[in-house]
Structures are given as C-alpha cells and as structure tokens.
C-alpha cells in the first residue's frame, strides 16, 4: 500500500492538492492512504520550504505546487 502525504499548514492549496492526490490514486487503481501533515516540526523533517508539498512513500516529489491529478498519476505509476 502506498502512502501519500500532503505537507502544508491546511491552507486552501493543500486541500486542493489532497483532493487531486485522492483522485489520482483512484484513477490509477492504487490503494493509497492519504495523510495530511500540518505539524511544522514534521514538515521541517522533510526539508520542504514551500508548501503544499507532495510526499509519496516518504519521498518528496513536488513542492510549492498544486499538481493536477493527471500529473500526480504520472508520479504514481513508476513508483507502483
């Protein structure tokens, strides 16, 4: 099972990214758990400077952008 984390303080952009990630996982037919990380200490642990950031299986794949679900799907496929 894939673990997708959304790093961000809970602003609108983070929610949009979360929604897109969910849609991408569903479209790719991947079982994925989506976790929203809002704790600054934990965000800091990933070394991320612009939020929202997307983390797939503990690897930071994008920062400061709201990726579309299509773009997230492309990131999901090689990992799966």
């Amino acid at each position: 099972m894939m673990i997708i984390k959304i790093l961000g303080s809970g602003c609108k952009k983070c929610m949009a990214l979360g929604e897109n990630a969910k849609a991408a996982a569903a479209a790719a037919g991947q079982a994925a758990e989506i976790i929203k990380v809002t704790d600054y200490a934990e965000i800091a642990r990933y070394g991320v400077m612009s939020t929202p950031a997307l983390v797939i299986n503990d690897k930071v794949v994008s920062t400061g952008k709201v990726l579309s679900s299509g773009e997230i799907q492309m990131l999901l496929t090689p990992a799966g």
């Binding site: 602003c11 800091a44 400077m49 612009s50 939020t51 930071v60 952008k65």
Partner: protein, 335 residues
Amino acid sequence: MTEIFRWMNDQLLRMQWLSDLVTLLVRDVFGLDIATRIGASVHFFIYYVIKIFILLSVLIFSISWVQSYFPPERTRRILGEHKGIGANIMAALLGTITPFCSCSSIPLFIGFTGAGLPIGVTFSFLISSPLVDLASVILLASIFNWSIALAYVLVGLVLAVIGGTLISRAGMEDHIEAFVFQSPIMTGDGETPTRRERFRFARDQVVEIFQKVWLYVLIGVGVGAAIHNWIPESVITGLLGQDNWWSVLVATLIGIPIYADIFGTLPIAEALVAKGVGLGTALAFMMAVTALSLPSMIMLKNVVKLPLLLLFAGIVAAGIIIIGYLFNAFGHLFV
C-alpha cells in the same frame, strides 16, 4: 521624451482615461453630479476598484514570471554565499522577488535557519518580503507618484536590513524552537521549470491572489471613498493631522493588528493624504498593516519563542514609526 514619459505615466499607470470614462458613466448613465458627495463617492469607488483590479492582474502576472526564477531554494543558496551585512542586504532585496505567502513563511523560516543562515538574515527577508514587493511599488507610483514609491522601497529595505542586523546582535538563537535546527536540507535549486510551467505558475498566482484580496480591495476602496467624501476633514486631521505629534504612533498602533493586503490599504492611504494627513502617517499605517499582523505573529510563534517574537515586532514597529516621522518631516519633497 519627458512628454512621452508623462503621457505613459498618466494614461497607463495612473489611468486618466479610466477616470474620464467613469466620470462619463457616473454623470450620463447614473445621472449623478460628480461634484456632489454621492457622485464623487460612486466615481471614487468604481474608478479605484477597476484600476486596482487591472493593475493587480497585470502586475501579479509579470511579477510571478520573474519570481519563478527565484524559488526559495535558490534564494537560500545565494544568501549562503554572503556574509555579514551583505547577507542582510541580499536578503532584503531577494525578499522583494521571492514568491511568498504567509502560509509558507514558517517552512521558509525553518528552511533558512535550519540551513545555517544567521537568524538576522532570515528576519531581514521576513520583514522585506510582505512590505516591499514589486507590485506594491508600482501601485504606489500609480496612486501617488514615482518619487514616493522609490522612497518607500528604500526605507522598506533599510528597515529590513537594520531590523535583521539588530536581531542578529541580540543573540537570540536559543529562542528558536529546537526542531528548526534538526531539519534536513535539500540542496540544489530544485528542478528548472519550463516556460509552460512558468506561465501556469504566473496564471495561478493571479487567480489565487485575486481570490485572496478582492474583498480587502472592496473594503479598502469603500473606506477610502468614505474618508474622501463623508468624514469631515477636521475629524481626520484632528485625529491624524500633522499638528499632532502622536499621529504616526496612533496610525501604527491601529494598523498592527489589522491584516490586509497592500492593495486594500493603498486607497485608504491615498484618501488620508488627500484629507491633509501627513504622508508619513499614511505610510506608517500602510506598513503596519502589511508588515505586522496578528495572524502572521501567531504563525511565527510556532517556531520562535515569545522574547524573540516580541523583539521582532518591537523593532519593526519602531522602524515604521521612525519612517513615518521622517516622511512627515521631509514628505513635502516628494509631493
């Protein structure tokens, strides 16, 4: 040559054509006399809302394009190459072009400080970033004039450099939460975006900032129209006039807890100045609203302890007040 510049300044930047057009609209379509209070208020409101929205869209788009060349990772690398006050100056300058939203200020603070940048440098960046962005400069030039806009940038940068330097001197590193220093550092500048990605970033920024500030703009322009036409000049000058030595102080204190965007505050500042309030007082109000706000303080509280937070707020507030008095004393040189 100066003729051309003046024409461009009046028509493109100050949008004289729009003012004329709105005059026609108010007079011939609404049937209101521009000289009456209601007519003048309606004109002020429509003219400023359209003008600010046009400027906002054009400016945010072009500035975001420039910003896409300066992601925070790159800014951090550049800052790491400078030492001492040079680093503070660089931080203040880069603060004007690095994309910044208050929701990103904490990860950015952690990213900078955790990477070993002196806290003073980080604070120089945090002061200049909301205070002096390129959009605000052009708006200031559009609503007041170029010399005021340039003077504003200059004092804003000086405040950021001095503020950051003072915070460095205070040696308050132990007032930063420990986890900040334990974060790993991602090196490199990140991936370079393609032209299409830059375009998308710029377009998204316009949409996003528009959604964020349109209400502030409407409120700000509404307050400006009210000040212009309904509140007697004696009340305004009685409260914030040049004769009162405490006017700058009051304006700053009123502005600190308020959170609004610079786009919303400019029409208020313009109306205040038109009513005889000192330029310094109006600018102090504007700077206090944009640079210091309760939401951003609460956010910073996550990473710094109270004494450092208070020092930061104190230095910035003091700086704004000094700038306000300086502009009141020398403001006649600019208007």
